[in-house]
């Protein structure tokens, strides 16, 4: 009994300590906000500026000299291997900004939460973070972002969506999200027009098409774009597996037989598969084993650079068959922004391997950087002030890492329609690169250019 008593005592002490620690933290933050708002001429004014301090509410602490930015990231879920380098990109970007004076002397600090790609967690972490950050550096996943959309609007907080669902470009669906890159639906049009033209030039005939996708906004948005492109190009869809690929639940394995049979049996010239990297490689590997030699592509998140890794069983095949598209320039791109990115990584993360997704972090961070700076200059660095600043941004340039973005004007005019095409390059990977070579820099296909955007391609309902 005596021993147990000691344990309980310790437990109780730990609880009390944790409780005290937390409440103490709360009081200091509120105190800081109170002093800065009531006394603008506080002693801690940033050195560079003579302007009055901007108004602040949540997520900016002048005393600590910090701006807090929330990150709703999938670090250990199905897209974890892709989102982790994006978060790395973010942190390197902000380290550099902070080292060079920050935002008028304020350092940006990221508060990263791992949502595991579970909407429930996403909502929970959103609830926690909205009380401590000024804006969200990214929000991973469409159903997840959809789940917090109304709250973002009600709470007046900005978020950069880490999802390319076409609905984010529709103001009716969102007012506080600042998307970037061509949506899945437009991307599919660009990819298919590019591949179809190339096929026709090589073979003198139009290619036949197999469309396969996962369900939900991601797969269906992409598949609808592919179907629109097929109709516009006059391509015959010989196999349609739209929305049929179900990513396996944890602890189970994916059976690609249905799709392998469908694709191989249809003898399609182009297989357009929008899926998770895991399901994509299953379908591709199965078809390869049966001797299928068509052209393969799909929305960008289907691709994982690990496909051409040294131990990958599909290394040789996929290097021959795959044509990828991207929203951002890959690691080896000549764009000035990418050169700067590589230099920063060499300086700040010398051990980090080359990865194509760092650029995504840079683009997201750049949008937020522009919004925060503008909000500061407007004298309103509140959560709502950052939203207002972001909505007035025009022609945000990323130094070629991604196509420039604009957030004012008609949705149809400002919709991003540019994609980039790349090929897997195992030799580049072995030489220490990211394993991709750009074959067509950012371009807009005729179909995408002519597409009248009136709302999401795939309507994500109620």
């Amino acid at each position: 009994m005596r021993k147990n008593r000691a344990v309980y005592l310790l437990l109780a002490l730990a609880l009390v300590a944790a409780a005290c620690g937390d409440s103490a933290g709360d009081t200091t933050t509120t105190a800081a906000v109170a002093t800065t708002t009531t006394a603008p001429a506080a002693t801690t004014a940033p050195p560079e500026t003579t302007m009055a301090l901007p108004a602040v509410d949540i997520g900016v602490d002048f005393e600590a000299g910090k701006i807090y930015v929330g990150m709703l990231s999938d670090l250990t879920g199905p897209f974890g291997p892709l989102v982790t380098p994006i978060v790395d990109g973010h942190s390197v970007y902000w380290e550099n900004v902070n080292a060079n004076g920050g935002i008028n002397g304020l350092e940006v600090e990221l508060v990263v939460k791992d949502t595991q790609y579970i909407p429930d967690n996403h909502v929970q972490f959103y609830g926690e973070l909205k009380e401590e950050v000024v804006a969200f550096g990214h929000s991973t996943g469409s159903p997840h972002t959809m789940a917090i959309r109304e709250a973002l609007e009600a709470d007046g907080i900005l978020a950069v969506p880490l999802t390319w669902y076409s609905g984010w470009s529709d103001p009716a669906l969102n007012s506080n999200l600042v998307p970037h890159g061509a949506p899945y639906c437009i991307e599919a049009m660009n990819v298919l027009e590019y591949l179809s033209k190339k096929f026709e030039a090589d073979n003198g005939a139009k290619p036949s098409l197999a469309i396969v996708s996962v369900p939900g906004d991601y797969g269906l948005d992409s598949a609808i774009g592919a179907a629109l492109a097929a109709a516009a190009l006059g391509l015959e869809v010989v196999y349609d597996g739209t929305g049929k690929v179900i990513p396996p639940a944890a602890g189970t394995t994916f059976d690609p037989t249905e799709f392998v049979t469908g694709i191989v049996g249809s003898q399609a010239d182009i297989a357009f598969v929008t899926a998770t990297p895991g399901t994509f490689s299953g379908i591709y590997g199965g078809s390869l084993a049966q001797g299928f030699e068509g052209i393969w592509s799909g929305a960008a998140p289907s691709w994982n650079p690990a496909f051409i890794g040294p131990d990958s069983p599909i290394r040789g095949g996929i290097a021959r068959d795959f044509w990828g598209s991207a929203y951002i320039s890959p690691w080896s791109s000549d764009a000035p922004g990418m050169k700067e990115l590589r230099d920063l990584f060499a300086e700040l993360r010398p051990d980090a391997p080359a990865h194509d997704y760092y650029g995504e972090g840079f683009v997201e961070a750049s949008i937020l950087h522009a919004a925060l700076q503008k909000a500061y200059d407007n004298g309103d660095l509140t959560q709502a002030g950052v939203v207002a600043a972001a909505k007035s941004l025009e022609n945000v340039d990323f130094g070629g890492i991604g196509p420039a973005e604009t957030y004012v004007g008609e949705p149809n005019d400002r919709l991003q329609r540019q994609s980039l095409m790349f090929r897997p390059d195992p030799a580049d990977l072995d030489a220490g690169g990211s394993g991709t070579t750009v074959v067509e820099d950012f371009f807009t296909s005729d179909i995408a250019a002519a597409y009248e955007f009136t709302g999401a391609c795939y309507k994500l309902e109620g």
């Binding site: 008593r5 937390d22 791992d114 609830g127 789940a147 369900p215 939900g216 944890a250 602890g251 109620g462």
Partner: protein
């Protein structure tokens, strides 16, 4: 009988809700404590009044309702069930179809006093439909049958798009709003800040109180089921089903009843969870959710109502504590001074090259994410409780209680 709290001269006194004076006082203090939390009246618990902690506590209440249901089936009647998440899903979608605004997806726009009980009833009905299969088997086989429910449910939810919104897309659920019928403005909304009876409350605090009332009602119901004829029949079946039947307990009937009641609780909890979260995808109602509920019942103490409540608090709040503790340690390490920073550095990896059990940037190097650590922690806790303290947190509480009962004469 003053001074002899354990001497009961009537069965009714023995079976009373709160048989002793101490229990009455404790229960009153506990309820008063819970009610006072959003008003920040108790020093040291002030942090709980913050909106995000209120949300965590609200989540505790929702899981408590679901776990109380599982406790009736597993703890009282002894029927292992891995299918609780399925019934929660059924309840959630019944609520959505009845309560959500009409649109492209099914939705009738009915008020909460219809959709919430209906969510429970529909789930109970489904429970009764599947029960005849389930009550024919027991033990491991029952576990497999109920596991199948989760798998079938996963397929069903993915493919009934008009009700569920479809795989990876999901749908919105009706908010916590009280309407008499389908009038434009609810007369009581839990989703908006504003005064209630002259007291200014945040939306989070309102939801908290709403769920507090519900969890109180369901606790009473669960407690009452336990201490009546039905509850005793359940326990008789749990302890020895053959003997129970010889004594005249209709095994089939009571097992069916246990399934129905437990599914009712699950359905209501599912509807509440979905409404609380706002939008969920069909993949949410998976085995992991069932396991979480089983963890609550086992860690709390199978067969006890207060244990289940403690378990719900434990399972929902511990991950939050681990997260906060990790963040705290991370900050200490980054500041770099003191003993705590050195100790923390052993456990926590703050960058890819750093070693440690927990990695604050998972995926960038070795080490578990906080979530994975929590899973490991729950697994270890379930094993530890099953071996060392089968009564769970309730058992620990019992020992503390018994210690103080005799204090200072503990020998």
């Amino acid at each position: 009988m003053r001074g002899r709290p354990l001497l009961f001269t009537k069965y009714t006194a023995d079976q009373a809700l709160l048989p002793t004076g101490t229990k009455k006082v404790m229960a009153a203090i506990f309820v008063a404590l819970l009610v006072s939390i959003p008003f920040d009246l108790i020093p040291g618990l002030g942090f709980l009044a913050a909106n995000d902690w209120l949300k965590t506590l609200t989540r505790v209440f929702i899981f408590a309702i679901g776990a109380l249901g599982l406790n009736i089936l597993t703890g009282l009647a002894g029927q292992v069930s891995l299918g609780h998440a399925f019934f929660m899903g059924i309840g959630a979608y019944a609520a959505a179809v009845l309560g959500a605004a009409p649109g492209a997806l099914w939705g009738l726009g009915l008020p909460i006093w219809i959709w919430l009980p209906a969510a429970g009833l529909v789930a109970a009905l489904v429970g009764v439909i599947v029960a005849p299969t389930a009550v024919r088997v027991r033990g491991l086989y029952l576990g497999i049958v109920t596991l199948a429910l989760v798998v079938i449910g996963g397929w069903l939810f993915r493919n009934t798009e008009s009700a569920t919104g479809g795989s990876q897309a999901g749908r919105n659920f009706p908010p916590f709003e009280l309407r008499l019928w389908q009038e434009e403005k609810p007369f009581l909304s839990f989703a908006e800040d504003g005064p209630w009876f002259g007291i200014d409350l945040s939306a989070e605090a309102k939801t908290y109180f709403f769920l507090l009332v519900l969890v109180a009602v369901f606790t009473l119901v669960a407690k009452n089921i336990q201490r009546t004829r039905v509850g005793r029949a359940f326990q008789a079946i749990r302890d020895r089903d053959v003997a129970a039947e010889i004594m005249g307990v209709d095994e089939f009937r009571y097992k069916m009843l246990a399934f129905a009641i437990s599914s009712f609780f699950a359905g209501v909890a599912g509807a509440l969870l979905a409404s609380f979260v706002g939008r969920m995808i069909p993949e949410s109602w998976d085995l992991a959710l069932s396991v979480q509920l089983i963890a609550i019942v086992l860690i709390g103490g199978a067969g006890t109502v207060s244990g289940t409540l403690m378990g719900a608090g434990f399972v929902v709040i511990v991950p939050r504590f681990v997260q906060e503790l990790t963040d705290l340690l991370k900050e200490t390490i980054e500041e770099g001074e003191g003993v705590l920073a050195r100790i923390g550095d052993v456990f926590i990896a703050t960058s890819g090259s750093d070693g440690g059990i927990i990695n604050t940037l998972p995926g960038s190097g070795p080490g578990l994410s906080v979530f994975q650590l929590n899973l490991v922690l729950f697994g270890l806790l379930i094993i530890a409780f099953l071996i060392f303290e089968p009564l769970g947190l309730y058992g620990i509480w019992l020992r503390i209680r018994n210690y103080w009962k005799g204090w200072p004469f503990t020998y």
